[in-house]
Amino acid sequence: MTLPPREAEPPPGARTPPPGAETSSPGARTPPPSLAAISSLAANPVLSSWLALSPGGTVTIFSGKVEYGQGVWTALAQIAAEELDVALPRITVAPVSTDGSPDEGVTSGSLSIQHSGSALRQACAQARAVLLAAAASKLRTAPTALTVDDGQILAAGRPTGLSYWSLASPGLLDRAAGAPVPVKPPGRWSVAGRSAPRIDLPDKVTGRPRFLHDLVLTGMHYGRVVRPPALAAELLSTGDPTLPPDVRTVRDGSFLGVVAPTDAAALRAARLVAKAARWHVTESLPDDGDLKRFLLSSPAEEVPVESRRDEASAAAATTIRTAEYTRPFLAHASMAPSCAIARWDGEAVTVWSHSQGVFALRDAIAAGLGLDPALVTVHHAEGAGAYGHNGADDAALDAVLLARAVPGRPVRVLWSRADEMGWAPLGPAMLARLSAGLDHGGRIVTWRQDVWSNGFIGRPGRGGEPRLLALAHLAGGRPMPPAPDGPPTGAMGSTRNAVPGYHIPDLEVVRHRLLTMPVRTSSLRSLGAFLNVFAIESFMDELAECAGADPVQFRLAHLTDPRAVRVIEEAAALAGWAGRPREDGLGYGVGYARYKGLAGYCAAVAEVAAENDVRVRRLWLAVDVGTVINPDGVVNQVEGGAIQSTSWATRERVTFDRARITSVNWDTYPVLRFTEVPGVAVRIVAAPGQPETGAGEIAQGPVAAAIGNALADATGTRVRDLPLTREQVIRAIERS
């Protein structure tokens, strides 16, 4: 059950800018020197694997990146429409499938616009050149004499009678991309760079079937998995409950499930099977009330992340501070429980999944079950919002295992809410220990940061393991090995954003990856950045207080990057920082980070009222995400990230007893509600000519930090353990 190692995301030094990144001339954006710089296109070079023209006047684009509410399909359609010179409504985005889509790895890391966007842009530019060459040949003129208006070929501004639609012949785009050609500069954009309505929303506001959960295939039956009653449990006997004759029970080791003609029948049968089954349960979990002890006492691998030693500077420290910050395990808590459909036809299996990485899922299913990957096809269909590696891939394997019992018949598996909350991978609990020294002038001269966490890089295939839940339950299966954490950099895994972006002469950052994984962990939106930025930015306020400095001025004094300075100044201006009111129980705080140390910039200011509860009233954010394709899409992502981060920071904590997760529904895992969410104002700081960065994860850390600092401002007490609840405030007051 091993896979060939998949390529990890490249370290920051190896990152290549997208085409034309630094161009600000009015002409075309300078193309990159070689196709290799456009990684997705280099890996999938045939133009027809990116777009297809129909004689009816539409363009279908193919991407390996999936839509899960982040609006990426709309942005990709804008990029294609722009480069082809066609109207946006002519563009359709094809569903992602291992059968026909370019393999662009996983949709994660806020990289879709860089990866898929740059590839589509170049593929469309080259397709346009191919079409213009064909037109020029027919018209006996030079391609440079021709222009395009919504697909119509013009010569000297007049119609030629030719169009993309008349020129498109089968096979025309079945050619490998050549050396990169110039693409349009943002200054000449008319479709990209402007807010466009999301192409998926009309279906969603009218209730038209769109989600995988709505898909009904001919002859489909319904499966339910009966999960063990504990994270570590062995099935002793099924107890042979009496079931209706049209229900199939599937057992393989400790994997137990049912297949029935309707979902209601499957659910009833699953309850009977669960009641009759006998298990041996092992108490395998740590004390959820003492996560610090769990994190600091578990065996761990210690890896240096960053070491910039300057002992002379460090020796100038006159004040040394140390503090520890923690976060609990966090759940994805998607609105929909995971769902999948699978069908076996002889040796071949077809899967429908809302996985964020259909290619990795295909390979993991094949490796896990000893199949030839060529016989496994995975089609993507939309699920509810995904915020990282949730249960989608695991549900797909469940469906495959249950469908094996009824060959030729599609079987749909839907997880229960309790299974979604109790069995999907979680974002790991973390501890960051920070220590810093200030010189007599109040400047930071030395900083050390140690981060303890389970790994975040636990998606299917990572570390050469299929990493699908049910594999551990099958006869002969073995427990899932602890999640890897990616290359030890300030951009990856638990140490994402553990390297402060401030000018600090003496700096050391160390990762402590836990080598046991009692609770399964994997990627959750922003990975380690959520805690690291909360810790660094809380600590910055604590240091500013030592130095007797205003929090905003203290940050600016340690920054040299003008884009960083700009977002902090803009957020402070938006919030009226300088004139903020001073009232009892009301506090203001700031938080800042450049995501991964190399992507989008975000600064946040929070207003927190600490009365009977911790109430975040308002948030002001300024972001710089480089060149923007869909401004409203960016604002929507930043607003949503800010509200989700507020919920994580003030409410959320996965609870468990010694055997199982106990926060298995919305009453035991409360998230922020309509009456509780803050008002959010977002300003995009223009960054003409700068490369596109993602926007979906940049708010997570800065918002949590701003809230923490505002709470300290409101109460006079520093709370370093998330979530920032009333109980934590009382505990912190008692300790101080």
């Binding site: 998926d200 209601a264 609105m335 429980p337 509600r673």
Partner: protein
């Protein structure tokens, strides 16, 4: 399972269905009538993704037994539009781009439509309170509240409650 006849008017059309009286109304709507708008989220009436309007009130349908729906009038998100025209709340959701993943959207729209039918000019706090039984995990709350207020402002006064 015991099956019974169920008489229910859904989106203006009278249906006589055969259903397990103890099954949730959500199953009747999705599996029985093929309506995709009401969505399964939790099964305990805690998230609002399955909301429909039953005799004028927005209710969760995942924990509403089919037998209790006997003789009722049910409106799902599919039934809100007036011929080819979107309900003002649906239109405002598009205008404000008030969604991300869209899984909670139909339940939220239904709850908002029921609110505006009962209270055509709600204050912002009333909108928030009316939607407090609906969870949104993507964090689109601000846009949703803005959309509902916009729909209320646009709604011709005296429009019949649906």
């Amino acid at each position: 399972m015991e099956q019974q006849e169920l008489h229910v008017t859904v989106n203006g059309e009278a249906h006589t269905l055969t259903a397990d009286p103890d099954s949730p109304l959500l199953d009747v709507l999705r599996a029985g009538l093929g309506l995709a708008g009401p969505r399964f989220g939790c099964g305990l009436g805690l998230c609002g993704a399955c909301m429909v309007i039953i005799d004028g009130r927005a209710r969760t349908s995942c924990d509403y037994p089919a037998w209790a729906a006997e003789g009722t009038t049910v409106t799902t998100v599919e039934g809100l539009r007036d011929g080819g025209r979107l309900h003002p709340v649906q239109q405002a959701f598009l205008d404000e781009q008030a969604a991300q993943c869209g899984y909670c959207t139909s339940g939220v729209i239904v709850a908002a439509a029921a609110l505006l039918a009962a209270n055509p000019a709600p204050a912002e706090q009333e909108v928030r309170e009316a939607l407090d039984g609906n969870l949104c995990r993507c964090g689109v709350h601000g846009r949703i509240v803005a959309a509902v207020l916009k729909a209320a402002a646009r709604r011709p006064s005296g429009q019949a409650a649906r």
